[in-house]
Symmetry: C2
Subunit: 249 residues, 2 copies
């Protein structure tokens, strides 16, 4: 039986200020919850419908059985997925295990859309990106929408909210960014180590960060003189950039 | 003054069966509507708030002034954007103008999510893709959600709904597809001409289409032996594939 306080706590975690105060976030579905548990994220509470399955031996906390209706009331999804868990937000960024070799990281400079941030985390996971640094005005990766959009990849990539100007001023590796006046990414030497800055959906890389870019890149379009798309979505640009760095490694 | 019948017609175009019967679709915002008008799409009706601007000399039909409240009732957007237009669905696919040179096309085999289809149209536009062939079970490109997600790129890329088995059986160019048992895309020869098949979000390329793929490709991941993302979103995979074909051109 779900208590009123449990319901209230879970629902309150939709808002960033509450997540920050409680230091908790919500994840849903056997895949995402399972991936987070396996990666060592600490559960605060787990709610599962009867017959639900988590493919993990030790959850690290009691699993409370709820009815379909109770899960529906807890869930942030249109179609709730058997299990919902509340996790502690990790206090220090976890290292990507055995991510040996030269490290390539991403820095998100004011990426606003939760779907874009979630997709970027998934891309970073695929391409073995070492860490994602996020400016404080980037969408919160622990919001229910972003957690779900990462499809479990949140479990694999360390994510660090940090002042990017501070970070990049002290960087000893090349700092890449895609800018309108950059050089054709397909024809530039790209190092194996570096930080790739991705900017805001509407305004691109912020004025404060722009002077810290040491290698300006451009993803060229192929319009043959005709009208074409004016820009690429930031997640799409991230995918193309990561692919181009990795294929040369 | 907006009539009841006008409101009813526009709202009815949310459903595919109504779009098919009326042969009409809705587009919103000065950018998307302007791009479609400039590309020669035929308007059926245009509604604009007072003070709204369309940067085009001749719209091809009367522009009816509506109030903010009337636009809100017409619109499919959370934040309506000054102008909403109803267009005729083109009866025959328009050619990409001056798209000379070897042609590279996409074939979407059951891509379900409207956001993915919209993003793919935008990517195709960026990379100068010749045409997009869609299986009948691919999300309808004329649904309001897809039209908006294309950000105007719908105006630039011919889109053809067609039986893919029929089309690909008669293809004289290489037919590419990304499959789990494919060869590393970064290390394969890729022709300048060809059709690239992208599959359904959950099930990939359908069983009927799979035998028609002549070059099986794989986008490798870079996990260094650790757990990683299990798959890439279909729009992300499309972007990486198009980028890889184009950079070699």
């Amino acid at each position: 039986m779900l208590s009123k306080n449990q319901l209230k706590l879970v629902r309150s975690l939709e808002l960033k200020k509450n997540r920050k105060r409680e230091n908790l976030f919500v994840a849903e579905g056997p895949k995402v919850v399972g991936d987070l548990l396996r990666a060592g994220f600490l559960p605060h509470s787990i709610f599962m419908v009867e017959g639900g399955v988590l493919h993990i031996e030790d959850c690290g906390c009691m699993v409370q059985t709820v009815t379909d209706d109770e899960l529906r009331r807890l869930s942030f999804l249109q179609h709730p997925q058997e299990v919902l868990a509340v996790f502690h937000i990790p206090s220090s960024p976890r290292q990507r295990p055995n991510s040996g070799g030269p490290s390539l990281s991403l820095a998100l400079d004011g990426v606003q859309d939760p779907g874009n941030v979630g997709t970027i985390v998934r891309i970073a996971d695929w391409f073995g990106i070492h860490a994602i640094y996020c400016s404080p005005d980037t969408a919160d990766v622990y919001s229910p929408k972003v957690v779900q959009a990462t499809m479990g990849s949140l479990a694999h990539v360390p994510i660090i909210y940090i002042d990017l100007v501070e970070l990049l001023s002290h960087a000893t590796c090349p700092v890449y960014g895609t800018l309108l006046d950059g050089d054709d990414i397909y024809r530039q030497p790209l190092s194996e180590e570096g930080i790739i800055v991705m900017g805001n959906e509407g305004n691109g890389i912020s004025e404060a960060v722009r002077p810290l870019i040491t290698k300006r890149l451009l993803i060229p379009n192929f319009h043959a003189g005709n009208e074409t798309a004016e820009s690429l979505n930031v997640a799409i640009a991230t995918a193309i950039t990561c692919s181009e760095f990795r294929r040369r490694g």
